[in-house]
Assembly symmetry: C2
Homo-oligomer: 450 residues x 2
Amino acid sequence: MTFELTKEYLDQIQSAIDTGDDATLRTEMEELYPADISGILDELAPESAHYLLSLLDKTVGAEILANLDQTERTNLLKLFTSAEIAPFINQMDSDDAVDVLNQQPIQVREEVIGLLEDREQARFILDLLHYEDGVAGSLMQKELIRINVNLTVNACIEEIRQQAEDVENVYAVYVVDDVGKLLGLVSLKKIVLARKNVKIADIYDDDVVFVETYRPVAEVAEVMQKYDLDAIPVVNVQQRLLGRITIDDVVDVITEQAEEDIQVISGLSGEVEEDDSVWQRSKVQLPWLVAGAVGSLMAATVINGFQSELGKIAALAAFIPIIGSTGGNVGIQTSSLILQTLADTSGLSVSLGKRLLKTLLVALINGLVVGLIAGAYTFIIAEPRLFFVVATSLLAVVMLASFMGTVTPLLLSRIGINPAVASGPFITTANDLIGIGVYFLIAQWLLAEV
Amino acid sequence: MTFELTKEYLDQIQSAIDTGDDATLRTEMEELYPADISGILDELAPESAHYLLSLLDKTVGAEILANLDQTERTNLLKLFTSAEIAPFINQMDSDDAVDVLNQQPIQVREEVIGLLEDREQARFILDLLHYEDGVAGSLMQKELIRINVNLTVNACIEEIRQQAEDVENVYAVYVVDDVGKLLGLVSLKKIVLARKNVKIADIYDDDVVFVETYRPVAEVAEVMQKYDLDAIPVVNVQQRLLGRITIDDVVDVITEQAEEDIQVISGLSGEVEEDDSVWQRSKVQLPWLVAGAVGSLMAATVINGFQSELGKIAALAAFIPIIGSTGGNVGIQTSSLILQTLADTSGLSVSLGKRLLKTLLVALINGLVVGLIAGAYTFIIAEPRLFFVVATSLLAVVMLASFMGTVTPLLLSRIGINPAVASGPFITTANDLIGIGVYFLIAQWLLAEV
């Protein structure tokens, strides 16, 4: 029932484009949803995509453009003149229009806004352009139904009729006073059921959850999720109604945030996809690999400093991997737990002391278990003399990595860096380095009499 | 504007519970949204939460229970008799009711269903109970407005009026034929604007996206996200309308999936929160730590096998960390890219051969860069004789880890295991082990004449 893009279908579209068979293209595209056509454009070369898009109805084209992958869209729009872009922008929701224009060179942006036939849309866009990325204002759209509290349900339906084309999903009508201050809302269901001459003042719900334009996007997502909202009104500091944020935009934010977290944890220093070019992929992978290498070379220097110990007991080298990987693994586990707590702000905040105490108790158990397993291996299979060195070092490393895994993300989050970094290769390597230092120091100390 | 839970407020509520000050509790709770009260119950002991919940209106209580954290809810409901649970279940959306009942012992479940006053609700629940977790049917609610295609808008409004209390968010009215087959939908906006005697047949939209009950939840989430839907109708194989899935449930699914992925990548073998007990946390952390330790001890055995090489050149030990951590880091980066591609099924699928070729080209560049950096360190600072050993081994390890990072998640996904595991500590340790083996083999070979 949903469309699935195949190589054959794509070839068929491509050859219709190559031969200029506009009739076939129009018929084929009419059968698809805009989101499916976006998927096709993603796979076409920009020139072909330009050709196909120009054939389509502007309303459909606007939705397609809004749905396109960002890089794809930027490449595609380079082939369009400002006069070609304007009719699409005219038909977009104001939030999508601003997203698209924000990725254009300033000159194109100004030209397009000047060329818009719908002057209300131009005003909407100018209103929205100045919000910085990451705040509620940047997600908001101006399209909504607002109604003065003193009017009747009938007037409200008239307002919906007039706005019907602009406001795609209505959900609710927002109720304002004479100066535009948000008072509450009436659900569309209530409007369907109400008698037509009833006053809005008598039926509206003043229990409305709203956000200010400057609130961080993550907070908006959390509030909408917590209260199960389909749309949330956005107000200024005087609580005047400025726009609304719909759930589909918030779903996108949540998905992007999750992708970004995984990317940071995986040590990718920027957005990248598997099918990007070899150079792009390398560029995104190398920074953390090099940082990790530098950390490991510092560990190499530490190890070289203990050459005389290694000379006496060569088996010491055998435990370098378990020390390093256990430290790294514990660090990731602990910081991941903290990340989760940081993301969920609904509970009471716990003091750092209490947190650390609990984490260190967990570390004590885990350290003892892992230490004893490795100790047993050491005693039975490898080198009995190293039993205490290996077991004690592992315990120390687990405790230390747990401490670092707790403190680092909290610290990063405090200074405004994405705390997911604390689960990444850099911190893992740092734990590795510290672990090896601890191991050799303990070895030196415990084997001093050897 | 949104409620924030403080220690002081919680103490105040707790003392009102302790002194049995019901009036205060009722007044306080009336000012809050159900989701906020859920947050309070999460922090209270089950006995206190039981007391507070029993004071509240059943409709509010039902929403609160549906919002509660799962573990919290199970602990809380242990204190309730079946007769106490039933009135809450009566008021819940059918999907939430099933979620709650599914966590109860079978006896309680059966008793509660028998005690439900609303027999339609009981029928809904029995319909939904048999869907297994993870398919569309398990997310669906039975509450929706359905209308026969031969009726008028007026009849439709009457239907909405009758169902108004049961169906919280209407969004759209689903249009069916005489045997209940889904034909299309009419948006609530269209109903507000339509003349009352118009036939549904003349205004409904037959371009409706739906899912079958057996579709995986991830697919539902993707479809709803792609087509920006607020609700999606669920049908059986004969395309008869059975229920609908609303966007708020899908948002929860997306969030949980992201949390689960991060948890798996972090090497946590189950759901756990920072404030769970020390034993619970340890239980979730230990399995992968032990698996990692066992892997590292195998590496130790490998290293011990090369004692004679280590005896000749002690500096060989110094590069164990960089070999291990670089292999691990590259593996995480590569598998994370594949994970991303696996999650996004909208594009064309790429052949394994093409994928590997590209990945290995990236690995060649990255391996040369990291290899030369480490080689330079080796040559200048550590042990010139090891230049070739270190540089070649690193190149080999990066290539090998890239290969493993590409193939492992694809393989895991093919056999139905969450491919995120491929970024976890276990695979990282496996890479570590292989890397060290390669390193010492190369060392043995290149230094054979030494």
